[in-house]
């Protein structure tokens, strides 16, 4: 097909400071990434990457960020991503790091990956629960959101915690 081919990079913002999440915004993330590219690849690299560079999706609660760039310059972008050191916003600056989770050709594949990834994360969350009340709390709230369809999935999860059920 005749179209501009893009690459979508799915990353996660890692930060030890929970307040960092406040400044996870389109602008802040975009600026930080651009800054990193400029540092790593200079003006040329910045120019290449900025052709269709945008932040397509951002979730401050989970720290997920989806970036888009042209297919040809994806290597420039992904090589610069580890160099992001902090996010700036509201006059504050928080140290953080970007972890690349997935690189996809379409938003759709990234979404599919994200579903799988989040599932795994929830599982991890449950496995790491220390007390029972907490576990039930999580299961309840999650069920509340994901309704019956995922009840089965969580029942499967719950098998790891035989003491609860």
């Amino acid at each position: 097909m005749v179209r501009f081919k893009n690459r979508y990079v799915l990353c996660e913002v890692l930060s030890e400071d929970p307040r960092c999440r406040q400044c996870i915004e389109d602008r802040a993330v975009g600026l930080a990434v651009r800054d990193a590219i400029a540092r790593a690849h200079g003006d040329y690299g910045l120019g290449c990457c900025c052709v269709s560079f945008t932040v397509k999706y951002l979730n401050a609660y989970t720290g997920t960020v989806l970036l888009r760039c042209r297919k040809d310059f994806q290597r420039l972008l992904s090589s610069a991503l580890p160099l992001v050191r902090h996010l700036e916003g509201r006059g504050q600056r928080f140290p953080c790091a970007l972890r690349t989770l997935h690189v996809g050709g379409t938003i759709r594949t990234c979404q599919k990956f994200l579903i799988q990834y989040n599932r795994r994360q929830l599982l991890l969350l449950l496995q790491n629960c220390t007390n029972e009340g907490e576990f039930l709390h999580i299961v309840n709230t999650v069920n509340c959101i994901l309704e019956s369809f995922y009840l089965m999935a969580f029942c499967a999860l719950a098998n790891n915690f035989p003491m609860c059920i």
Binding site: L14, Q22, L58, T62, L122, N128
Partner: protein
């Protein structure tokens, strides 16, 4: 993995903090809100996650964070909403919400394609859309939904019968009969429908133009070959009665002044077909009814004469009503019918009805038993069978009968039409085509009750004009006894030698026909006789039998568009477009305006022409009434020369009003013009005094009436001849002394002009214009008077294309913008109110309603003075214009104000007479054109 460790760390720290956090939040909300921050958050997720997909939502983007709804939901912009610490449950919630949003986004189909179209090519299977089970199982559910939707969208087609049953001849005919109940089909409808763009007009289904590319080919056919047209939709009204009585009454609705009347000697004998314009009784130059052609039946001894009046279907009702009025006819239901013809006619119709009704009942009663097939509708299918179509005058015994669709009419145009006719004859002796066979009989001069004769109307004695087509009994007989195509083919198949001629013997049909020669272009000097040809009149039912042989002779077939081109190249007005004074013409103009306006409004606003800026007051309709009125006012102003400053001031005022930035050039152009006006005013005022007494005495009686009506179209032959002579330059290169002397006439002096102006203060004249150089005129283009400077420039520079109109200021623009802003504000307010969830108590609609019809680029409200709105004085409008293939330059036809024309001709120099400027509605460029009047 560092992240896992990190999360673990976070979680551990978070679990410890949860309690604190909850307390803190409760503490922070001292307003007694029951919801804790956490719950609030939870609700938020619940609220956001079922949002629509992001694409639709992006448009809404009021604030950036919110605009990314759906799968991109949870981005908060304010720090209040973002908790300062995370808890396990919120974190889990966030993850879960994200999963849900993503799932929704993934599950949703993003493209417009069907499910099986999204499959990669190697997974596609034949007939996937038909059989869902051929799809991979994961997609079957989606495909099923899609299929259901498609079924709903599809039009509910009655699938009661299978295709084979539907296409069975009986059922097909029944279906066709049903479909032509609203709009009449011509007999050649099916043939046309396969090859033409069909339009529904005037209650008929007519072919507009062929689907193939044939614009130029049709022109070539008209000039060099032969073009065939089905004119069966033209309506025929038959008048039967004594010649004297007929002529006496018919003289009231036409005038000798406008040319031949019904009583013209050559037409009265039946040798010629005549054409004329009808007016309401005794109302001659006003209240035009429309153009008609008429043909008398040749005298056959009896004192009753038959007269056919052929007219366009758009004019039929008006003319029929007027005829009924002048002959004082009443509907025959109330009185007994003395005429045998009409009774027969009625009986026949009623019989038809009974037959068809009976058949229907039978068909309903016992299905499958196809004893009697449904009869095809021949003639007018929309007629109410019980309503009579003839009216009898009690006093004079004159019968008016409506013969619509009883007689078919084909037209052959072009020099080869004669040979097409003769060749069709020739073929008759060789081929076995039945219609051809009848031609042999047509030619024999042997007259018998059944035998029929061929007639030529021109160059032949009157006896040749006799035809049995006038006799309704014979026509009826011929129509009913037509051997069907099926039977004929059967007989042909049974011939011993295949392909030999089929001899029907005595059962061979003999069809009465009438051939009428059309003279083609008669007015003007170039291309005399262009577009001449033959009209052939047939009894109904025989349409296709004649049509196909014509097609086999290699004629080209044209539709309505070709008919309009034919009249355009002949430079004659086309019915009903070019008769602005008759009701059908006005109706047509209104319809055209609304359709053009709709088309205009469908364009994106940025791509529309701003007609206000272009100085075009009415791009979609020609305001004839205002045009003649303003010229009349001008003339009056010039007569009342008592206040010399008033017209001048008015003129300047309008000019200043119309132009955005009156450049010095414009002012310069304007001032000599006004000077001219004054000059002529002087002249005419002097003459007015002189000839005042004369005009008083030679009042034609129509003068008073003419003032009352809006406008008239000048059709007086003598006057048109005079005007035509005046339009040619009297000196210089283009001078034509022969023509001028031939058209004769007087010099253009004031004492000749003034009576004309007096008697026709509000008249329009049909003119044709040919462009001198470049330019392609369109309909509604403006015809303007060139200023002296323009003419001077033209004489100096032969390549001078024409002056330009200075841009006007759009005085409506800020109004439109204000309106738009108001609308937007209101919308916002409504939105706000809706968000606050208290319904607006007082709707503010006063501002929007007062100027609802305001469209950017169009003049709204009443038009200002149309003649002086632009820098050149307006003379008239073009009704039809195009690049003429016949002359090789742009040509236009239109009307100009008689007063304006005389004023222009009077003031123009002798060698530049008849030069005008032409400007299309969407352009600022004026083009020079030569105006002429052809009589």
């Amino acid at each position: 993995m560092c992240s896992a460790i990190l999360i673990k760390l976070c979680l551990q720290s978070i679990t410890r903090m949860t309690l604190y956090f909850c307390y803190l939040c409760l503490f922070l909300n001292p307003s007694g809100d029951v919801r804790s921050e956490q719950q609030y958050q939870q609700q938020k997720f619940l609220h956001q996650s079922p949002g629509p997909p992001y694409r639709k939502d992006q448009k809404r983007g009021d604030s950036r964070g919110k605009g990314r709804g759906g799968w991109q939901g949870e981005h908060q912009s304010s720090s209040e909403e973002m908790p300062r610490y995370i808890t396990v449950s919120t974190f889990a919630q966030a993850r879960a919400a994200e999963i849900k949003a993503m799932l929704k986004a993934v599950a949703q189909k993003s493209s417009n394609s069907l499910v099986f179209q999204t499959l990669p090519r190697h997974m596609r299977r034949r007939a996937m859309s038909h059989n869902i089970k051929r799809l991979p199982r994961r997609l079957q559910e989606v495909a099923r939904k899609e299929a259901e939707k498609a079924v709903h969208q599809k039009k509910e087609q009655s699938k009661t019968k299978c295709r084979k049953a539907r296409r069975r001849h009986v059922n097909l005919v029944a279906e066709f009969n049903r479909r032509q109940r609203k709009n009449i089909w011509l007999e050649t409808h099916i043939w046309h429908a396969k090859r033409f763009h069909m339009v529904k007009k005037w209650g008929y289904c007519l072919g507009n133009s062929p689907t193939e590319k044939c614009y130029r080919a049709c022109y070539r056919a008209m000039t060099n070959h032969c073009l065939l047209q089905d004119l069966s939709y033209y309506c025929c009204v038959e008048l039967t009665g004594k010649e004297n009585e007929l002529l006496k009454q018919l003289a009231r609705i036409c005038s000798v002044d406008a040319g031949l009347t019904f009583g013209a000697a050559s037409c009265l004998s039946g040798r010629f077909q005549g054409s004329l314009n009808l007016y309401r009784a005794d109302r001659y130059p006003e209240d035009m009814l429309g153009p008609v052609t008429f043909i008398w039946k040749p005298r056959d001894g009896s004192e009753n004469r038959q007269l056919w009046i052929w007219m366009h279907p758009a004019l039929k009702q008006d003319i029929l009503n007027e005829l009924k009025a002048i002959f004082q006819c009443s509907d025959p239901e109330e009185i007994c019918i003395p005429e045998p013809i009409t009774t027969l006619n009625q009986e026949e119709k009623q019989m038809d009805v009974v037959q068809s009704l009976g058949k229907k009942r039978k068909k309903e009663g016992k299905e499958g038993d196809k004893a009697v097939p449904v009869k095809k509708i021949i003639g007018d299918g929309t007629r109410d069978p019980f309503q009579s179509y003839s009216w009898v005058s009690q006093t004079t015994g004159i019968v008016i009968s409506d013969q619509t669709m009883e007689i078919l009419r084909y037209r052959l145009i072009g020099p080869l039409s004669h040979s097409v006719l003769t060749e069709t004859l020739k073929a008759a002796s060789i081929q076995t085509v039945r219609t051809m066979a009848c031609w042999i009989l047509l030619f024999s001069s042997f007259v018998d009750n059944d035998k029929v004769r061929q007639l030529y109307l021109e160059g032949v004695p009157v006896e040749c004009a006799h035809s049995f087509i006038w006799d309704q009994d014979i026509c009826k007989n011929v129509t009913e006894n037509k051997i069907s195509e099926q039977e004929l083919n059967k007989m042909r198949a049974q011939l011993l030698v295949p392909g030999s001629q089929l001899d029907l013997g005595p059962c061979e049909s003999k069809i009465p026909i009438l051939l009428v020669q059309q003279p083609g272009k008669m007015a003007g000097e170039d291309r005399p006789g262009w577009g001449s040809g033959w009209d052939i009149y047939l009894p109904k039912g025989w349409g296709m039998a004649f049509w196909i042989p014509f097609i086999y002779r290699g004629v080209r077939v044209g539709g309505l568009q070709e008919a309009s081109k034919h009249s355009e190249y002949q430079r004659i007005p086309h019915t009903p477009d070019d008769f602005p004074d008759c009701p059908a013409g006005m109706q047509f103009a209104k319809e055209l305006e609304s359709s053009l306006l709709d088309k205009f409004k469908r364009r994106p606003p940025a791509k529309r022409a701003n007609y206000v800026k272009l100085g075009t007051l009415s791009p979609f309709i020609c305001p004839w009434g205002q045009l003649v009125k303003s010229w009349e006012e001008r003339m009056k102003a010039s007569e009342e020369f008592v206040h010399p400053s008033s017209p001048h001031a008015e003129h300047c005022a309008t000019e200043g009003h119309g132009f955005c930035d009156p450049k010095p050039e414009v002012v310069k152009e304007a001032s000599p013009e006004t000077g001219e006006v004054e000059e002529t005013m002087e002249i005419s005022s002097e003459d007015a005094i002189k000839t005042e007494g004369d005009t008083g005495t030679q009042d034609f009686g129509e003068r008073g009436e003419a003032v009352r009506s809006d406008f008239i179209v000048l059709r007086s032959e003598k006057l048109l001849m005079q005007l035509s002579a005046w339009c040619y330059p009297t000196s210089g290169k283009d001078r034509r002394p022969r023509l001028v002397s031939q058209l004769g006439g007087k010099e253009m002096t004031e004492d000749v002009l003034l009576p004309i102006l007096m008697s026709y203060p509000r008249a329009l004249v049909w003119v044709n214009l040919s462009l001198l150089r470049k330019g392609n005129p369109e309909s509604h283009a403006m015809i303007c008077i060139p200023t002296e400077d323009d003419l001077l420039h033209l004489s100096k520079d032969r390549l001078f294309c024409g002056p330009q109109e200075p841009k006007h200021r759009d005085i409506f623009k800020h109004k439109v913008q204000k309106l738009k802003e108001n609308k937007r504000k209101k919308k916002e307010e409504d939105n706000v109110k809706a968000q606050e969830s208290n319904p607006p108590s007082v709707p503010e609609k006063e501002t929007t309603e007062e100027c609802k019809d305001l469209v950017l680029g169009l003049w709204s409200g009443t038009l200002p003075d149309v003649t002086s709105h632009c820098s050149r004085t307006l003379l008239g409008y073009v009704t039809r214009g195009d690049f003429s293939l016949a002359t090789g330059c742009g040509e236009a036809l239109g009307f100009v104000s008689l007063t304006g024309l005389l004023y222009m001709l009077h003031s123009q120099p002798a060698d530049k007479k008849g030069l005008v400027l032409l400007r299309t509605p969407a352009s600022l460029q004026y083009r020079f054109a030569r105006l002429s009047i052809e009589v």
